[in-house]
Amino acid sequence: MSTKMSRRTILQASALSVAGVSLGTALPAEAGKYAGDVAILNVALGLEQQAIAAYDAGAASKLLSPDQLKIAVSFQNDHKRHRDALTKLIKQFGGTPVAPKTSYDFGTITSAADIVKLAQSLEAGAEGAYLANAAKLDNPDILNAAVPILEDETRHNTVFQQLLGMNVTERLKY
């Protein structure tokens, strides 16, 4: 599978999961005018929680080199910051933040490479989800909060792509 194909597949999967979560999430009546934005934020929150859990799993595995661990901890901190910002916004706009899942299935992790691949695919999925939804956000404050998060996800994804020797000179198709 080429890099392009796998990236597209990830993005499609991410779009599907976005649609799935949106349909499955009940909106509080008070979400009101920005109910659509709140629904998107809740999908994003779910992705942040998943990423935090993945980095926890990676750190707990003791498989990462000190340098890899440093990256993982830094990126997990970014995701915690995103989680907190999204949670605050969802509440501010009358929504109910989704709770993290009690467990996540990250497949079999037996090497540091498995963890880097997992992290890269999650970051690519998150990047794709924020990118696909950015222009759907109506509230400027919410958009202003989402844009730096999109930047973080792109940075994370690019760092892991480089670690994995993937092509970083090809832009997404748009």
């Binding site: 990126f75 792109t154 940075r155 690019t158 748009y174």
Partner: protein, 178 residues
């Protein structure tokens, strides 16, 4: 059309100078002042932002051209530079096309850019990284001022490219991305 948008052009020149030097504070300052009214939530606002973005893209294209012509780049770095320049050409063409659809003739690139002294590959990498970082900051700062959804969507994709470029160039310079 030209005269109507003259204040926007002036705004563009002002904040782009700051973007070029990667000054977030400068951009933020301009956006909190009278420029914010100029970039009001309207079609004119989008035109001002797009004109500014076009300037940045033209500048980046010229910078990568200067880098490539310097013969200072290793084959690997040259490959990256050519790919990134091609992204900026794609951005330029997309932005130009939107401006035309809004009835505005896109401004041509400057005849000459001052990129300072480029004596080493590192000089070129630093220049490119600074321009990419400035562009990313400009797109991120202005995103919420864009009123037209397709323009915003295009801008978000461009932002992602600029961040990817900046990240790769930082890595090439040994600057941590975390």
């Amino acid at each position: 059309m030209q005269s109507t948008h003259e204040p926007l052009r002036e705004t563009r020149r002002n904040w782009l100078r700051l973007a070029g030097t990667a000054s977030a504070a400068g951009i933020a300052f301009l956006l909190t002042g009278s420029s914010q009214q100029l970039l009001a939530q309207s079609k004119d606002g989008d035109i001002g932002i797009l004109s500014a973005a076009l300037y940045l893209e033209q500048e980046a294209i010229a910078a990568y051209q200067a880098g490539a012509e310097s013969k200072l780049l290793s084959p690997e770095v040259l490959t990256v530079a050519v790919a990134f320049q091609s992204d900026h050409k794609y951005h330029r063409d997309g932005i130009s096309s939107v401006l035309k659809s809004l009835g505005v003739e896109p401004a041509p690139p400057e005849k000459k850019y001052d990129f300072g002294t480029l004596k080493t590959q590192k000089d070129i990498l630093v220049l490119a990284r600074n321009l990419e970082a400035g562009a990313a900051r400009a797109y991120a700062t202005l995103a919420a001022n864009i009123m037209t959804k397709p323009v915003l969507n295009f801008g978000a994709n461009v932002l992602v490219d600029e961040v990817r470029h900046r990240t790769v160039l930082n890595a090439a310079l040994g600057v941590p991305n975390y």
